[in-house]
């Protein structure tokens, strides 16, 4: 399949999404508590990622994938972002716009991806705490003792079904 026939369409649509990203970032900067901008940003960057991967533009796909990851964490946390995060996303959008233009011009290797490390760091900090697993909620941490590690002890609800069962034969003798 000759992908070059789709390059102009990719460029035009990516530019539309990048322009939307800048507008959404301005909205978010004005009203950091608003939940709408992050959803729109996530969708726009996700769309660019899918298109770039299809075109074989690896650097554009990588940058947008890592921006998407950060935005996903921010979206899930539900917290208003710090101004530094908004400024980082403005810089990342700028880098993505340049990378898109270079990719279509056949010069993707020249794309400056210095912002990637910052994005990954911010994504790590924004990552929501993992939810307890289904099994973990059956355990509580034992009181801390200075002389031993605090083991996990089962809660009453986990022990209840065991108590209802007959003890194993080896315990009855």
């Amino acid at each position: 399949m000759d992908l070059s026939q789709y390059a102009e369409l990719f460029l035009a649509e990516s530019r539309e999404h990048l322009s939307a990203c800048n507008q959404l970032l301005l909205d978010w900067e004005r009203n950091p508590a608003s939940p709408e901008p992050v959803g729109g940003l996530f969708r726009a960057v996700h769309t660019i990622k899918g298109m770039a991967a299809t075109m074989g533009y690896g650097r554009v796909a990588d940058l947008s994938h890592r921006m998407e990851n950060l935005l996903d964490h921010l979206r899930r946390s539900g917290r208003a972002p710090a101004d530094e995060i908004i400024q980082l996303l403005f810089r990342a959008t700028d880098a993505l716009e340049k990378a898109v233009g270079l990719a279509v011009a056949g010069r993707e290797r020249e794309a400056d991806l210095a912002v990637l490390a910052e994005i990954d760091r911010a994504a790590l900090q924004a990552k929501p705490a993992p939810q307890p697993s289904g099994l973990a909620r059956h355990f509580v941490e034992a009181p801390r003792s200075p002389r031993r590690l605090s083991p996990l002890i089962p809660t009453a609800d986990l022990l209840r079904p065991l108590r209802l069962q007959d003890p194993p034969a080896s315990c009855t003798s």
């Binding site: 399949m1 789709y6 369409l9 990719f10 649509e13 729109g40 996530f42 969708r43 996700h46 769309t47 990622k49 899918g50 298109m51 991967a53 299809t54 075109m55 074989g56 994938h65």
Partner: protein, 120 residues
Amino acid sequence: MSHTVLVCDDAIFMRTMITDILAQAGFEVVGEAETGTQAVEKYRQLKPDLVTMDIVMPDMGGIDAVREIVKQDPDAKILMCSAMGQQALVVEAIQAGAKDFVVKPFQPSRVLEAVQRVLG
């Protein structure tokens, strides 16, 4: 008679490419939708033999659109088009009633294989 297809994706780029892949293989793309709401509405109007469905779309996402379409027509044949890293969402879409999936970036041959599987 060729099979009719409804192509749902918020990106014109993806809709154009999927339409080209399918048209070159002899399918008839009878409609396009760029949101989940449009997908549900166009499915009702067009009753296509097959739907290709993106997952992340504005307004109503692809998984909710699958639920709505399957509610209208339990025999609907829907092929999910997901990006990498969306395995959990693909599982949710299959549970919602989608028949199969392909992962972006697309290889035309993979798309056509999946379409044939879905159409049985």
